[in-house]
Symmetry: D2
Subunit: 409 residues, 4 copies
């Protein structure tokens, strides 16, 4: 038997592509729609309002369609409170659990709209009934008895809107090409970084060891020293090779100033790790005057937090590396909630890990030599992103140079 | 002084994303808009109609904005005839020449709407005033005195609409990923090929030498013999290595059955070319019983036309290779106008060359091991495309197997 | 002041390329050499012997050169015992520590040559003086007081020799190309797998989630069921999507039989994780009849060990995932020492992690869609490797088919 | 019946890897060898001499083995004159034709060793019996009656030797990695360019349109103006977009200073072509003051020859583009014989075309964003090459900067 329900959409729903997506989903999923009301904003700054009747061959399919539309910001006109079901055990979700998008989200609880705190993709909503707070929670952190939101009822997603002004960042998934003017794009990114700093937003850098191998560690160290970076997300390898480079002038045994393999260089990264083991931590090594420069040194000196997340490829690892991946994720999350921009350079693993935790409104810059990596990051990323197919070893020095030039003006 | 003009849009303009693009362009280019009328199609099959007033700070910018909107199918409500200016010399375009999209296009000539024949991207429109025909013409073919369309006045572009039904092909630029179920996608492509054949549409294959190197020549030869391919676009290398493979069992000196380099194999491709030189042509070599199997053999036996376009990397080349690239383009164009589907495998050069000449409604399948190549083809391609990141050497045998299985059912 | 020392080399030192490398290193590092004796094996099966005097401008450089030559199997004619220095603390190496190659290695201890057990690259040698055993130990496992080998004195490396017969595997670093006959190479790999099984060697598979996404999970499940795989190294994602695929027919929400996105599919992977959480483990879920097929199911049914190593990208993770990366490495090592062949498919992270722990004589097959990943694996890999640039979704089904065909013969 | 023959090798045959390759080939092809004499050069600068008896199961296989060894510089102790057979027709080679390597080659003609002029890979040797000259000739240029060398008898190949000193260039096929210090390598390349210029060697640049798209045209124009480049090999696209950039500030419609798409920009490249059509040639357009800067402008002003080779992807093409690919190859060859170094940036097609014509001793620098392209170029390249995985848009400006810095010192 045919079922139908009405939904509403509001905002810049045409130019943000939401209407297109809504019609798309309904047709792809075998539904029908009838437009009941469509008040189109007359001027560029006006918002639009649409009310649709969605029909499907059966209840099950209708629910499925509405669930997809929900994620695009559609809402049913009359909404009750969210449905809460207690978790039956630690890390066990109730059947029918609600799964989050990375867009700003609200839940209706006792007739009040609570913002969902620390929103990120593919997590769940736990309502703290005493405090009247809704918290986005990954499955690993669900505790027995937590009041977990099930179904979309009472949940409202605010789908992102296309910026009204011309922006450096591409709205939604931009195309990725290596055939764009590199220096012009680097100049734009530099200006965006400065703009963010002036607005008081925090900026994170997610970096892979290629930064050190390609000789860009000096540039990144300078950026940290000059205050452009507020938190560093990286792995054991970046820190190890950065310290190796400071202690022995090499990265994986290659002299970073000359590009030649150095005698005995194959041992340098283990020697670097062993020295830090002896000192007890990177901070101690800096304090003892053992490590005298580089990315990690500048973080320590400047008091910039860094999260070194462990991976199964790691040598050592350094005592500062968080070897438990769930703990590493939690630590990353602590530094994410007030970021305005994230610059990701030369690491798919760490960039995806950080990207998974970001709300959709954080701006991201994704830089990698491999276009498939940039595409993957852009597809999983936030709604305002710039993808750059370039070489960390030339990108970062040129970015640093641009920042310095612009600061002088 | 501010200028304004009214434009109209009609069709499935919301779900095809045209309205989104129109608002996008106006905002990106610094214009303003006011919606005068917006009749939204109530049901899935209804079309919509919009009338907008576009405003810009000056005439020049307004023209620029309207020129972009024109390419999306927007038209000014009252339209006069096209403006024609004679070309002052061979291969010289009049100032302000109109440049084509690859969408179906019509020109208003003496109050009549003439369809533009052989439409393809980045060409020009010549009106044959005697015959009352409008022909899409590349710059290289413009002759002195040709009546060339200038400005967008009197030109109407029919922007493609999203298919009403679920389709295997992605509408506009799909995302490209190597992480999709390969065999399922190959099955879909096989079904689309059969569907096209049943509808009487012609299918072209554009192929690179990787088809032979990866051992997929047998599969392609079978597909040609069984009538799935109506025209072959390739280069000297594909034909040379195919013939090398038939004569000596090798491709670039590697045994295609065992994957091992063969003694003296480095000479085989030149020996193959020399044998065809002696025979005079590939057809002669087949007729003389010299070439007894393979891709080119099946083309000759089946009477399937092939276009071997020369490139500066070519050895030889074979006597059948068209060494002049402009002549090669013209020959390709002769086989393009009645195609329904094009399958592109393992060649960026030939695929882009063919893709450049295709109208937007031809379906394309783009297969390459390099995701960046697939992305590039999808971005330049037609509005209904499937991108597959796969290995020619496994893709074609599995496609051929699927076709045979489905034919039996 | 100029220093010099004599070294010896023995074996198939010309055709294995060792002599070339020895001369290379000396010249690159600014040394000189004089050949004192060079007895060349007259016949293909004879070994050669060379004795060289190496000269360098100073002691320091001479040591550096000799240290490099040591890794190629060169030895000084008169050798004393190894030098042992106790570790001053847990995870702290004594200065001048010896760093291992992945080649078979022996240490001279009390005039006896002890084989170094569980040899792997970039580790260290601890001599158990009571048991008279030498054990290869990563820095993370060094305990205070361990007798750690320092300097090359008393250490002998057996540099790998080129197989005397034609081999499917390439000796040392082969070239990587996507332009080789895929089916022929798959046939060879199938024959090598059968050869290894017949010799009683164990085979490991290292796999990424692309195996499931590309629809190759069935093929791998079949290979496990039929006994071709003795241990599985993977991550949380492969297991999650394999179970998602069994429970819901999707992988990351995409139907693996049809390649289309499924309604609500975005929640499937979390639902799969939550179900396993509820069951307590993958084994429990299989035993309870919840999971009824797929890769993990076959492992459980067949009693094949699997190591699921955690990563910071993980959702969940599953209760079976080892979230501590050092513990995950240790668990991998437990399954590595008796392997004869490792097949790596679609994961750079896990493949490098496993590859880091392999002795140089284990045969490896590296399969990835990205040629740069294959190159990286081949460069870090063992001395007998095959690199294949292909698509997991077509490679594994064709490999499985070949194995079944060959078994029937 | 077993056959055997003796061969000789001379030179730095161990450290250049020739002996390793010789033993490899014999074993791979199923032969046996016995070393009759092996005089090893005692010191680094001494050459070695080896005499081997090669045995194979039959004459045919023995010939095959010897043919492979010949290409490595092996020679039979007593050599007669080359065998010459007249070509039976234009572009038809006699059976058993000799196919060239890219190494320096000599033919014995009337007891005299003639150097083969203009040696390049995969061509043939024609002896001008009157002039006593041997000329390397591609099949397309063979004329009826030409005296063509058949078999290896009387042909001597001088296999390249590893440089005695540390070199920036890698001998034979180097590994390709994106993880090397970019600025250090750019510095080295700058020094090599200056060294070549000082030695009076000519330098070619082979460039793709990515140079213009990525905003590096200014840097290349500067390098040409300052005299670092002696000849430019490119295609229609590079020249078109360079001129588009000069006339309209865009490359394929994208503003190269800002990286934003420009209104109406999609027409710019055709407008650029049309303007040059009207002027008649690039030189005319420069002379008329139409084109006032950029790569092509600097070539014209400086009198630097350029070869624009046509391809089937070309729009237009420009009147300067050579549309016939065989003619384009011939024109390239005219500029190749006195080159000392070739820098290849951002084009696989043109780089392979030029690389195919180079003798093995020309130094090459291969730069591309795609590591697979760099690998392909290195594998086909000359014996001294540097591969750089980088972005043309950052590489060239940094190279130009380094050249200017070094010149000042």
């Amino acid at each position: 038997m045919e079922s139908c329900r009405e939904i509403e959409l509001e905002g810049h729903i045409i130019d943000s592509g939401v209407m297109t997506l809504v019609f798309d989903r309904i047709m792809d999923m075998g539904g029908e729609f009838e437009i009941l009301t469509f008040n189109v904003g007359k001027l560029k700054t006006d918002t639009s309002y649409a009310r649709l009747r969605v029909t499907a061959p059966d209840d099950h399919l209708l629910d499925a369609i509405l669930s997809e539309l929900h994620r695009l910001g559609a809402r049913t006109p009359e909404i009750g409170d969210v449905t809460l079901v207690p978790a039956e055990g630690d890390r066990i979700l109730p059947k029918g659990f609600y799964s989050t998008t990375n867009h700003p989200t609200f839940v209706k609880y006792r007739d009040e709209w609570l913002p969902v705190e620390r929103i990120e993709m593919d997590c769940h909503i736990v309502v703290d009934e005493k405090e009247k707070r809704a918290i986005c929670t990954p499955i690993a952190k669900i505790k027995a008895g937590d009041a977990v939101v099930v179904s979309e009822t009472g949940v409202r997603v605010v789908y992102p809107e296309r910026p009204r002004k011309v922006s450096t960042f591409e709205f939604m998934h931009g195309t990725v090409s290596s055939e764009r003017p590199s220096e012009a794009i680097i100049g734009k990114i530099a200006r965006e970084i400065l703009r963010s700093k002036r607005k008081g937003e925090k900026i994170a850098l997610v970096g892979g060891p290629a930064i050190v191998h390609t000789g860009a560690a000096d540039a990144l160290a300078t950026m940290i020293r000059e205050g452009y970076i507020d938190v560093l997300f990286a792995g054991n390898a970046l820190a190890t090779h950065d310290i190796e480079s400071n202690l022995f002038g090499t990265s994986l045994g290659m002299n970073v100033k000359t590009g030649t393999l150095v005698t005995g260089g194959h041992k340098h990264h283990i020697r670097a790790i062993s020295e830090i083991m002896r000192a007890g931590s990177i901070k101690n090594a800096v304090d003892q005057g053992l490590v005298t420069g580089g990315i990690m040194y500048e973080c320590v000196k400047k008091g910039i937090p860094f999260v070194l997340a462990g991976s199964i490829r790691d040598d050592g690892p350094l005592p500062d590396t968080i070897t438990d991946v769930v703990e590493a994720q939690d630590t990353m999350r602590c530094h994410i909630h007030d970021l305005g921009m994230v610059v990701m350079v030369g690491t798919l693993l760490h960039s995806i890990a950080v990207g998974n935790c970001l709300p959709s409104y954080v701006k991201t810059v994704c830089v990698d030599i491999n276009p498939a990596s940039v595409t993957k990051l852009m597809d999983r990323g936030t709604t305002q992103a710039i993808g750059v197919v370039s070489d960390a070893g030339t990108f970062l020095p040129l970015l640093c140079e641009q920042l310095e030039k612009l600061e002088k003006c």
